[in-house]
Each structure stands twice: as structure tokens, then as C-alpha cells.
Symmetry: D2
Subunit: 132 residues, 4 copies
């Protein structure tokens, strides 16, 4: 089941065309990922404490519409692909209950924090990713 992260668009994020400036969506993706980890009971600091970190190696965004100030926005998170040492999360930014404004994805690589080299996705994270 998809995880949904609620976002209140900040006034400071709105540009003079009245829409969220595109770079902020990557901030939202990042916060949604952190929220997802909390949601599945694997908070980011715990992940790191257990010897793993993740690094974003690729991002994509498609701007089909715009989020505006006062929109009740949310970012839905889904796992699009799970490999051995990497995974792809898809993010759908809704500007209302059923209207997607922006969609995108981040490709994450899992690193071992002792060697900072690629390492297989740890079981608890793999399980959490399988659920979204």
C-alpha cells in the first residue's frame, strides 16, 4: 500500500508565477522518504546506526501541473524497483485529493557505513520496500 506524506506548501516555496519552484520538489521527495522510513518503523538514524546509509544517484521529475499555495498537497511513495544494492522510489505529488501535479523518482544505492561501498539492501528495508 502506498505511503502518503502530507505537505503544506510553504509561502517561501512559491515563485512569482504562483507555483512551487521545481527544485523544492526534490526536498519534498527527501522528506517523504524520511517520513516513509519512520512510517515503517525504520527511522533514518536507526538505519545508519545499523551500519547502512543510502545515497541518491539519479532523480527524474515530470511536471504535469503545478502545486500552489494553500493546496492540500501530499507526496505518495511507491517502490518501483528493488534490485540487489539499489532501489527506485516513485513519488507522486498530489495537489488535491485526486490530482497529480508532479511525478518523479529517485534511484538510491545502499552503502555500508564502514566501507562506504555498495552493499545489499538490508532485510528490514527490503521488506518495507516490498510493502509499498
Amino acid at each position: 500500500m502506498t505511503y502518503a506524506f502530507p505537505v503544506v506548501p510553504r509561502y517561501a516555496e512559491i515563485d512569482q508565477q504562483g507555483v512551487v519552484f521545481n527544485g523544492h520538489y526534490l526536498t519534498w521527495f527527501d522528506e517523504a522518504f524520511t517520513g516513509f522510513l519512520d512510517h515503517v518503523g525504520l527511522p533514518y538514524p536507526d538505519l545508519i546506526a545499523s551500519g547502512y546509509d543510502v545515497m541518491v544517484v539519479h532523480s527524474e521529475l515530470d511536471y504535469g501541473g503545478s502545486v500552489r499555495w494553500r493546496d492540500a498537497a501530499r507526496v505518495e511513495v511507491a517502490c518501483e524497483r528493488q534490485g540487489t544494492t539499489s532501489f527506485t522510489l516513485g513519488f507522486s505529488v498530489y495537489r488535491s485529493a485526486d490530482e497529480v501535479a508532479v511525478s518523479g523518482r529517485n534511484v538510491y544505492v545502499v552503502l555500508a557505513t564502514d566501507t562506504w561501498t555498495k552493499t545489499p539492501i538490508p532485510p528490514r528495508l527490503a521488506e518495507a520496500l516490498a510493502g509499498v
Copy 2:
């Protein structure tokens, strides 16, 4: 010939891992595009005044490395594709004279400001794009 936009990484853009947070690169791409328009003698306000605007519909970023505080960074701009009503600019973020940290691209659609519908790339912009 590629256009190069110099960037001084701001302290506020550096995260606690000591590297530029990924969302800021889209801000740099945007500033580099504005700088490019100035460079070719077609400043953004003049473009709009002449009845055209551009809208980013797609972005991609590949993070091969990191930009850090005090790096002498620059964003090189190249036109990767020029269609009828859209074009793609490639951006290479250098963290030093010859080391690319991040590369990406934006797909832009040209709009007529009277109807806000797609319209062919105006000649002066097409010519400028052909030069990079």
C-alpha cells in the same frame, strides 16, 4: 560553444554531509539558463516581452559526485535537442576545472504568452540554442 555559468556554492546549500543538497542543483540549472539567455543577448524579460515564455516539463539529474563549500563550481549549458516547440538543455555541474560532479537536463516547452499554448521556438532563441 558551451556556455559556462559560474556558481559560488552557498553555505546554506550545504547539508550536514558536507555536500550541496540535491534540490539546489535545479536552482542552479534555472540560474544557468537565465545566464545563458543574457549571454546570447536575449534576456528572459525580453523573451517574455516578445510574446514567448518557456516552461520546464521534465528534469533529470545524475549525481556522480558532490559539490562542496568553497568549490569553484560552474554549470555548463549545452543544447541536447531542438524540436519544433520544445528543446532540451543539458547541464554539467563542475566542481573543479575538469571534474563533473552532477549532470542533468531540463526539457522546455515554448508557450505563446497570449494563448499559453505551445508554439514554435522563436527564431532568435532557435539560433542561440543552435550555438551551444
Copy 3:
């Protein structure tokens, strides 16, 4: 009674010293003010629709401590002064239940949206301010 606005510090707001970069607190103050207006039943768009806007003319911040990533932060809002056409809101940024990290204030001037000149604080806003 003080109004409290919860804030999840964003990873992108944390600098390489591991603390929230100071400029972001003004963004938090702005969001806390918007949240306060919602809380008292006078959402910002309604305020504007009724012919009034507010403009910040002065800000002050005292950094007694730092907010870090994963802190359960909140911004408490209190009205420090209510004049005829202006008012001062005090903001206390808590980094935990009872520890204030940063305190500050914004001075707001009320404008009539037809003339964009100073005008007395409208009654509903004055009443709301008297309550915090």
C-alpha cells in the same frame, strides 16, 4: 494562550555544522503566522479577500541554541504588542518540549488592499491577536 506550530526540521535546512541555517527560521516564523491565522479561523486568503494584507517591516532573531535534524521542534506564537496599524508577534522556537533554541519577533503593518496604505488592524484580527 500561546499558539504552537509544529515543525519537522527538513534535512535540506541543516547545514554542515549540523544545525538549522539561520535564514530558515524566518521561513518558520512565516509558516507559524499562517498557521496561527488558520487556527483562529481567519485564514490568510480570507484576510486578503476582506481587504487587508500585512507586511513584515522588521525582524529580530536571538540564537541561544540550535535546532537539529530529527528534533521535535515547534514555534510558539505570542502577540507582544498591538498598536493601531501595526503589531508585533514574538516567536519562540523550541527544540524539545521545554527548551527554547531561538527566539525572535516580526513587526507587521496592516495595509488596505485597495490603497496599499496603512490601515487600522481589522477587528477580527485584533481580537485574535489579543488572545495570544
Copy 4:
């Protein structure tokens, strides 16, 4: 003599009222301070390497006007006060050659990086501050 730091207002910094959002001015102050240290031949990393760091403990801003996109802005830096272990820099944000839009100040405390306690302003910094 005052030091002037040139600023190109970024499109992402402009809010939907068409002006720079207030929190960004503190980012500009920070960059202007870094630029000032470079200008006087005491780059921030050198300052730290020599055993000193500075911490902002107080900020103030007065918004007398607005900076807009495409303004040729600059931040002028002047030392308003030099004490034993702290100093105050004044920042004047010009939106054109002779029009100040925003003025403010930061109070800095000097810390010894071995004990992270207050320490007298080191001679080279004191001399540089005396010059602006």
C-alpha cells in the same frame, strides 16, 4: 571603506508577490560575510584553520523596500561595533546603485576552536573589521 558583495537575485528566491522572500536576506548576509573575509585576505577556512570560528548570536532586519528579480543588487558590509570577543556587522541591501531596500545586522561572537568558548577577536580579523 565599505565592502560591497554583488548579488544576482535568484528566481527561486522571489515569492508570489514578486519580491525576495525575507529569509533569503540572511543567506545573502552570510555570503556577504564570507565574501568580505575573502576580500580582506582571511578566507573563512583559513580563519578556522588558525583556531577561530565565529557564531551569529543575533540578527536584525529592517525591510524598507523590496528587491525584485533582475535587480542589480549588492550587499554592503560595514563594521558597526567591535568589542573584545564580539563584533557587529551592518548589511545594506541595495536594489539599485543608490537605493537601499533592506538593512540589517548580525552580531558575531568569536570562539576558540579548541575549547569552543569565547575568545578575543584575533588581530588579523580585528584589523580587517577596523577597515570597513
